[in-house]
């Protein structure tokens, strides 16, 4: 995992989040922020996974940071935070497991299927717990980011 890989992964996941923001019909002026948040989330995940071999913790920390950035941006730019949160978390959603589950069912390998199902649930749970934690912070701790006019 060299520096080049991190830069490449950041750019690719930022493009993916931006493209997802378009599929969710996000307003044009917010897409660049979504791309930034999506890139940060994936970089944290892949960094913890490759460097420290802590995959679930990486997914959790990535989601926490993405959710935090979304809330800060929502106070800063005066729009609902879903605009940033949903597309930026897409790279961390366990979509790949769907293929492995289908593959395991096909080969009648029940251990493999079950292991991948549990892995998908763990990923989704890590994302959900991260959102639960960040959105439970009272909103008064975010007022300092509010745009003054």
């Amino acid at each position: 995992m060299t520096f080049f890989h991190f830069v490449r992964d950041f750019i690719l996941s930022a493009i993916a989040s931006a493209a997802f923001a378009v599929l969710f019909n996000a307003p044009r002026r917010e897409i660049i922020y979504t791309a930034f948040a999506g890139g940060i989330g994936w970089i944290l995940y892949i960094g913890f996974f490759r460097v420290f071999e802590m995959e679930m913790f990486g997914a959790f920390i990535g989601s926490v940071i993405v959710a935090y950035i979304s809330r800060v941006l929502s106070y800063r730019r005066l729009v609902p935070s879903t605009i940033y949160l949903a597309p930026a978390l897409i790279p961390l959603v366990p979509g790949t497991e769907m293929y492995y589950i289908a593959d395991g069912l096909l080969r009648n390998d029940m251990y493999y299927t079950f292991a991948h199902t549990v892995r998908a649930i763990k990923f989704a749970g890590a994302i959900a717990i991260a959102i639960l934690i960040v959105y439970s912070i009272p909103s008064r701790y975010f007022y300092m980011f509010k745009k003054r006019n």
Binding site: F20, V22, T82
Partner: protein, 254 residues
């Protein structure tokens, strides 16, 4: 005059709530917006929103009460409409809009269309390509995945035109992307069909349902949180079935 006025506000709030829910706003925002709008007309309002419907009941100081509900059958994700509706509700509450102009604004927002089809197709392709490369595919696989994503996008847009059920759309989407990935690898574009399928699955994943399920749970809307989580499981099951059908045919016939 006063009765009619309150009736209009109630209709307006119900229309606002169902529009927001149709476009993917979270439950708490819909409840809060409707109650905020109704508080303008000297009404005591309680609203109850679940994933598939909006209920609102009001009574005024003379205990004349009314209840309305609306069922939501079609659910899309349109984040721009949520922002605009939020803004309209805020202006309505600050007395910057009267009932007439507010209903005009709502009609204007509901007429807003999605991004143009070719932009959406390119985005389907980009999502597929980037995830194929992120999950370890080679550049050739990325190119094949881009084509697969565009084919998937064409099929999904056509299916959304004919208004089929979400289950069938996801089964067909999963089958189409698997078929296209295998065909492209057989044709010599791309090396590993596994990587192409993994990337091309990503435009279909129910990521929005997972994040909104978690957000509903935070604010205590357990019923809609559970139903959104159920929707996510159901959709991923449908996609898995679609992939499985084609893989099964492919491995047993060829």
């Amino acid at each position: 005059m006063a009765e009619e006025n309150k009736d209009h506000i109630l209709d307006l709030a119900l229309q606002m709530g169902s529009l927001m829910l149709e476009n993917g706003a979270e439950t708490q925002r819909v409840q809060w917006t409707m109650e905020m709008m109704l508080s303008r007309g000297d009404l005591f309002a309680q609203s109850y929103v679940i994933h598939t419907g909006v209920f609102v009941g009001v009574h005024d100081s003379s205990f004349v009460s009314a209840t309305r509900f609306a069922r939501i059958t079609e659910r899309r994700v349109n984040l721009e409409k949520i922002i605009l509706l939020n803004d309209i509700a805020r202006r309505f509450n600050n007395n910057e809009l009267d009932i007439e102009s507010c209903s005009h604004e709502l009609e204007r927002v509901s007429a807003i269309t999605d991004f143009k089809p070719h932009v959406q197709l390119i985005c389907y392709g980009l999502v597929s390509m980037t995830f194929t490369v992120l999950f370890g595919g080679k550049p050739y696989d990325g190119f094949a995945s881009f084509i697969t994503g565009i084919i998937l996008g064409i099929v999904m847009l056509m299916l959304s035109r004919v208004r089929t059920s979400a289950f069938l759309a996801n089964v067909v989407g999963g089958s189409v992307l698997t078929l296209s990935a295998i065909a492209l690898v057989k044709a010599g574009i791309g090396v590993s069909y596994i990587k192409i399928i993994i990337g091309a699955l990503m435009p279909l994943v129910p990521g929005f349902a997972i994040t909104s399920a978690a957000r509903d749970m935070v604010f205590g809307d357990l019923l809609s949180g559970m139903s959104r989580a159920g929707e996510a499981v159901f959709m991923s099951g449908a996609i898995t079935v679609g992939v499985l059908i084609i893989l099964h045919v492919f491995t047993s016939v060829l």
